[in-house]
Every structure is written in C-alpha cells, then in structure tokens.
C-alpha cells in the first residue's frame, strides 16, 4: 500500500481527532493567554517529565496507570455506542462492582491466581448485572436507557456508601477515611516494574499496573468480538439501522440486553487496576468520575479499541499535567477545559469529516460505483450519531412491530 493510499484509507479517521486536538489546544492556549500566562510555557510544563531517568519513567508510569482504567471505561461505553445505546451508567456500574469485589476479595482466602480471578469475576458480574437492569427495563418497560442509568448511578452510589459504612466497613471507628478491609497478598495483581527494569528503564517510585496486560487483552477480545463474529455483526448492524437489522432476523430485544451485559461487564473492570495494583481496598478516596470520562474517551477514540487506547493515553497525559501546572501557578482546571473542548471539538470535527467524506463519495459515485473511502470510520460515527436518535424512543425502531 503506497503512502497516498494509506492516507486515503486512514486519513479521514485521523483527520477529525487531529483537528479536534488542534482546535482544543488553540482554545486552551487563548484561555491561558487571557489570564496573563504564557501558553507556550504552560505547554512546556505539561511536557516536562522531570530531570532524572527515574523521574521520567515515573511520569510515564503515572500516565499509563491513569490511562488503563480510562481505556476500560471508554471500551465499556463504546460497546453500547456501537449498538446505538448510550450507557451513561458506567460510573455507577464500576463503583458498585469495585466495592463488592473488594469486599469479596477481603473476605476469602484462596491461592493467588484464583483469588485474583475471583475478585475480577465478581467485579464483572456485578457490573453486568447493574447494566443488565437498564437493558431489561428498556426492552420490557420501554424506559430510556439514559434516564434509567442516570437514576441507577445515584442508587449505586447510595448503595456503595451504605455498604462502606455498614456491612463492608473495615476501618476503625473514628477514622476520617472509611475503607473496606484490605485484600490479602494473594489477591493482588503483581506490578510490571520488573519488566521496565528488564528493558533498561530506571525504576520509578510507583508500580506500573500489571492490569495493563489484562486491559490490552480485553481490548483485543472486544475488537475481535465486534468485528469478526456474528454477534458483533448483529450488534453493529442494529446500531446502524435497527429496522434493517430486525428485518434480517436480528432479535433486537435480546441484543439490547446482551449489549448492556457486555458493556457492564467491561465497566466492572474499570476499578480493578487501582484495586488490585495499588489501593487493595475501596474507600471514600477511591478514584471517582472514570465512568463519565469514559464517555469522552470513547467519543475521542471513535469507538474503536485502538482509538480509545490513544484517547485514554491523551487523557492520562493531561491528567498528569494537572499537578505540574498547579506548581507553575496555572489553574489545574485548564486540564478539564482542554478535555471538554477536545470532546466538543471532536464530535463537531467527526460530523464535518463525515459530511466531507460523503460528498466525496457522492462525487466519486457519479463517475464509478466506488465505496466510501472509509467505511468503518463512517460506520462508527453513524453508530454514535444514531445513539441519540432512539435514546428516548424507549425501544429500537422496529420493536413495536415485534410486540404487536
């Protein structure tokens, strides 16, 4: 494949995110300039990883450790997106899954690999079950998944706080930070710093989460499942056109529930890197907000696992930059503004490139029956775009026919 062919194949897919990041950087630069700081200095601060090799690997490890849960969160959101469902409840799903997994993990004693496996499975099952409620309510009662998952978010957080202060409380009375009991040694996931040493990098202070391997594996699995199996085809087909999928024999109701279960199971993994690699317990200080950031990451990554991985790395990079920015007297909230602007810019850019590619295809189609240059990218955007269309319909388009 020549260079120009490559560009034609992947150009549109890369164009939108690149444009979006560019626009976001310009806007954020203007904001920084507006408060009288030098934007280029801020940029330099964000890219400053430290002097010594150890400091630099430390910075990289921090970025990766933040990116791993963000990747899983983005993946969970994207699975539902591909089907045209909007799983805004990832936040509640992973918080409830993590606390229950932490509780179970601390309560049992098992040999190391089984113990870790049990904790992970509990997390996935809880996440799937919580997301499954959304699916069941949607197909049986026609409740919009957006609303039910928002309500279930609140309920999950309430349940988590009840569990934390009640049955699963492992703190001494009077402690200001309440935690679940600590998971014993056998239930912890080994870090990857040995590997970093082996490839000749200086040892950082923090352990690189070993869960990185699992996350990568999950990414590959989901990618294969969505792109190479019958289930994945049905899922994407339903996302693109519910009525067409229904007409070709896809069970739309079953697909809604299965997709939510899968999305929830991946959501159940989001808390695991932190739980098994660093904290070993769930508490009031446990990382929050990953579910909402996951939506942003999924949008930026255009719902493809590779794209989501890059988006997660970008967000991890931005989040790490918050502290050095603070030291340089630049408000750390600039980072949130950059993230929000990126998301808004990327969805607008997606839409603009989608229209451009279509116009191009129409022009090409006039001469010869050429396929759109980037079928998959367009499909992903269309899937995301159709997410909102049936959000409130209660049920996928053709379903009313199925009921009567």
């Amino acid at each position: 494949m020549s260079g120009s062919a490559l560009l034609r194949r992947f150009g549109p897919a890369l164009l939108a995110p690149t444009m979006a990041v560019g626009v976001a950087l310009v806007i954020s630069g203007l904001v920084i300039a507006l408060i009288g700081e030098n934007p280029f200095e801020a940029l330099a601060v964000m890219f400053d990883f430290g002097e010594t090799p150890a400091q630099q690997t430390q910075a990289i490890v921090l970025i990766l450790n933040r990116a791993i849960p963000l990747f899983l969160a983005g993946l969970a959101v994207s699975i539902a997106f591909r089907m045209g469902l909007f799983n805004i409840g990832v936040e509640g799903q992973y918080r409830l899954a993590t606390i229950l997994a932490a509780g179970v993990g601390a309560a049992v004693v098992l040999p190391a690999p089984l113990h870790v496996l049990l904790i992970v499975v509990v997390g996935m099952v809880v996440g799937a079950a919580w997301a499954g409620i959304v699916g069941v309510l949607k197909v049986t009662r026609g409740v919009s998944e957006v609303i039910s998952s928002i309500m279930l978010n609140f309920i999950a957080l309430g349940l988590a706080s009840f569990l934390l202060t009640g049955p699963l409380n492992g703190s001494e009375p009077g402690d200001s930070i309440i935690n679940t009991p600590t998971i014993p040694e056998s239930g912890r996931f080994p870090g990857l710093n040995g590997f970093l040493g082996a490839i000749g990098l200086a040892q950082p202070r923090t352990q690189l989460f070993g869960f990185l391997v699992v996350a990568a594996l999950v990414g590959v699995l989901i990618s294969v499942l969505l792109n190479r199996t019958r289930f994945g085809f049905d899922l994407r087909a339903t996302g693109l056109s519910p009525s067409a999928a229904q007409a070709s024999g896809v069970d739309a109701r079953g697909m809604v529930i299965k997709t939510m279960l899968l999305s929830g199971a991946v959501a159940g993994l989001i808390g695991m890197p932190d739980l098994l690699g660093e904290q070993y317990k769930y508490g009031t200080q446990f990382t929050a907000g990953l579910g909402f950031l996951g939506i942003a990451v999924a949008l930026l990554g255009r719902n493809s696992p590779v794209g989501i991985a890059f988006a997660a790395l970008l967000f991890g990079f931005l989040d790490r930059a918050a502290i050095p920015l603070q030291f340089a007297d630049i408000p750390a909230s600039v980072v949130t503004i950059i993230q929000g602007t990126i998301v808004l810019a990327v969805v607008i850019a997606n839409e603009v490139t989608r229209r451009l590619t279509r116009r191009q295809a129409e022009r090409a189609g006039a001469g010869h029956s050429g396929a759109p240059p980037d079928g998959e990218g367009v499909a992903a955007v269309a899937a995301a775009a159709s997410g909102g269309q049936r959000v409130r319909a209660g049920e996928p388009g053709g379903q009313q026919g199925a009921q009567s």
Binding site: V31, I35, I88, L137, R141, G142, V143, S144, V146, I147, S148, I150, M151, N153, F154, I155, L157, G158, L159, S161, F162, L163, L164, T165, G166, F292, L293, I295, A296, L299, P331, S333, V334, V335, T336, I337, Q339, G340, T341, V343, L344, V347, I348, E351, V352, R355, A384, A385, S386, G387, G388, Q389, R390, V391, R392, A393, G394, Q400, Q403, S404
Partner: protein, 426 residues
C-alpha cells in the same frame, strides 16, 4: 401498531359508578386521582403515626427541592419540543450557579438572577451551535457541555474568587450573596397562622391539606413564585400561540415545518437558548437557597429534571408533577429518615388497590403478584425501624425509576426529538 390498545369492554355497559369516576373527561379524572392520593397519604399518616409525612416543613422543603428540578425540566421542555434533546441541562445549570454567584456577590440578588440566566443561556448557545449548526448528535454534545461546564466554572472560580478582592471566596465557592426577598400570606400562614393551628390538630385529611397549604404559602421566595408562574406561562406560550405551534412543529416534523416557511434553525436556536436560560435559573435558585455559590451544588439535578420531563410526558403540568414527586421524596428523606419507612406502607396500599383492580378484570396472575409484593412491602414496614442513611439517600431516584418503569409505555415524546435535522436532506 401497538398504540391501539383500547378494549371495547370499557365502553360497554357503563355503570353509574364508572360514569362518576371516569366520565367528564380528563379534568374530572385528574381531580379524582388527586383526591385519591390525598386520602391515601392521610390514611398512611394516621396509620403509621408519622406526622412528618404531611407536615408544612416537609412540604416547604419539597417545594424548595422541586423548584430547581422543575426549572431544569421546563428548560428541557422548550428544547425537546423543538426537537433537540438536551442532556446538557446539568452543565447549563452549573453555569447558572456560577453566574448567579459571580453577579450576586457584587450587585445583589437581582443581578444574580440575570447573571444565572445569561450564563445558562450561554451554555444553550453552545449546545445550539453544536447540534443545530454542525448537526452533532444531541446526547454527545450535551455530555461534552457537562464536562466543559465543570471545567469552566472551576477555572473561573480559581481566577475570580480565589483572589484577595473577593473575601470569603475560594477556588470552589463564591463570597456570600444576598438572599432573595421572600413572602408569606398574612393571617393564614404567618402572624395568626391559622393553617399552622389546623395542622397541629392532626385531623384526618384536613390537617394534611393545611400542612400542604402552609408549606407552599409560608416564606416563599421570589424565584419560587416566578418558577410556579412559568409553568402555566410555558403552557400558554407553547400550546396557545403561533410561536409555540411553530416551535413544536420543529420537534414533530421539521421538514414539513420548513416547507411551510417556518425558519426551523432559528426556532431550534431560540428554543435551546431559552432552555439554557431556564436551567440557569434553576442554578440561581440553588445559589439563593444556599446564600452562596458552591462547586457541585447542582448534584445531578439537571439530569433529574430531564427525568421529570419524561415522566411528565413532555407536558408542563406533567413535569411539574414529576418535579413535585421527586422534591417530596427528597424532602422526606432529608427531614425525617424514619418517615421514609412509612412510604413502604403507602406502596403496600397502592399495590393492594392494583391487586383488586386486576382481580376485578380477571387477571388473577397479576393480581396475586401484586398482592405478594404488597405483603412484602407491609412486612418491610412492620419490621423496619429506620433505614440506613446510604439507602435513604436514593429514595427519590428509586421512586422516579419505579414510577417511570410503570408509566413509560404510555409516554410519547416529540416525534423528531433527538433527530439531527439538515435542511434539504430529508
């Protein structure tokens, strides 16, 4: 296809009782439902001995909690009636709280009102640009606005509140602001306080009504009155004027509206900007209530407003009922944790009625299921003294979810709601 569900059985052989209960159109039916609810609550209060269930203080708190939700829901009404799903209500509300705090601490409560309105409307402009001009998916744009709003207010607070010229402010809060003026109805609920006396008698039905009336007439803020007025005003504007008809036509069939000369893009812009302004007003109310701007003050109320809108079937009266229900459940769990248990008795009573109704209609499986659930709820009421805090905290959300899952099938949203409209592509 499945919308035609009316069975001919209901039209045949109407007895005088059925005629009394269901005749006379919607107005009479709503009246009966309201009366039924009143009797039910009164009964539960007397049976459970939880006087807080219908006390003036709970109703006042309920009103306070319902107003911001109702304002957000009204905002959602305008935008969704014009066909734009607005999940960014939360973000616009956040902008509203900040605007109110910033303008309020410098120039008083009137400026706070305008500031919140303008900041919310700015969020609306952003949403309109993304969804109407660029045709971005509505939910996606809304989520982005929510993320962005959180970042913007933190940034602005660090910039403008943390400095030395704003005493009492910080990176997450504004300096204190003036309270809004508030009113009470003399003789009835202040001074002689006749309603208060009546309420303290704890008579069946009468005291409950007095509690409700006193709750909504004692110490009512200016913005509360404004919000209550906005509900009929929105109804009249949307359903009784040419402007409203055109706006709603953009949400039902924009292509047809366009062909009749309605400037669809302009109407969508106006609707989304009004939507942002109303959500911003909801934020102003929260700031007035606390007397200060605090980060995270909205606490997801924009989302709940959206749920209230759907619950209310995209109608002003319905969304007000949804906001009221949520506000009441929230007030109950805040004011009197033990009274929440009494709600179980309410659920049990409702389920018994449902069971009887199903049995009369010869659906015995459903009837027995409802009866079993009723017994479960009754058992819960009799054995539980008080629920743990974590569980009580989500009473309103659980109530909303339950009511929605019971009612959702009968809801009908605007036909083109959430669809991206591109001129000439339809």
């Amino acid at each position: 296809v499945s919308t035609v569900t009316t069975t001919p059985a209901t039209d045949r052989g109407r007895g005088p009782l059925t005629e009394l209960l269901t005749g006379g159109g919607t107005a009479r039916r709503i009246m009966w439902i309201l009366l039924g609810i009143a009797v039910l609550f009164s009964l539960v209060r007397v049976l459970s001995g939880q006087d807080e269930l219908t006390s003036a203080s709970v109703f006042r708190a309920a009103l306070t909690l319902a107003v911001p939700i109702g304002l957000a829901a009204l905002g959602g009404l305008f935008s969704e009636r014009a066909g734009v799903v607005n999940i960014g209500l939360e973000g616009m509300m956040i902008l509203g709280t900040w605007g109110a705090g910033w303008a309020g601490y410098q120039w008083g409560w009137g400026a706070a009102l305008v500031g919140g309105l303008l900041f919310g409307a700015l969020g609306g402009v952003l949403h309109a640009v993304a969804t109407v001009t660029f045709g971005v998916d509505h939910v996606v744009s809304g989520v982005a606005i929510n993320i962005l709003a959180a970042g913007i207010v933190r940034f602005l607070s660090e910039l403008l509140y943390a400095g030395p010229d704003s005493p009492g402010g910080g990176p997450t809060q504004s300096p204190a602001i003036d309270r809004q003026p508030s009113f009470s109805v003399p003789v009835l609920s202040s001074g002689a306080d006749l309603l208060g006396d009546l309420e303290r008698q704890h008579w069946f039905l009468i005291s409950d009504a007095a509690g409700l009336l006193r709750g909504v007439t004692n110490g009512v803020g200016l913005l509360t009155i404004l919000a209550l007025l906005l509900i009929p005003v929105s109804y009249l504007l949307l359903w009784r004027t040419a402007f409203g008809l055109r706006l709603r036509s953009c949400g039902e069939n924009p292509a047809a509206a366009d062909s009749l000369g309605v400037p669809v893009y302009t109407y969508k812009y106006v609707a989304v900007i009004i939507s942002g302004g109303l959500a911003g007003l909801g934020g102003v109310f929260l700031v007035f209530d606390a007397g200060i701007y605090n980060e995270g003050q909205t606490g997801g109320r924009g989302f709940i407003g959206l749920a209230a809108l759907i619950f209310g079937n995209w109608r002003p009266g319905g969304l007000a009922a949804g906001a009221g229900l949520f506000g009441y459940a929230d007030a109950l769990q805040l004011k009197e944790k033990t009274a929440v248990v009494a709600l179980l008795l309410l659920v049990a009573l409702v389920l018994v009625v449902v069971a009887l109704w199903q049995a009369v209609n010869r659906r015995f499986l459903r009837a027995s299921l409802a009866l079993v659930a009723a017994l479960g709820a009754l058992l819960g009421f009799l054995t539980t003294e008080r629920l743990p805090d974590g569980i009580v905290s989500f009473t309103p959300h659980l109530t909303t979810l339950l009511v929605l899952s019971l009612a959702s099938q009968r809801l009908r949203m605007p036909k083109a709601d959430g669809l991206v409209y591109r001129r000439g592509e339809h």
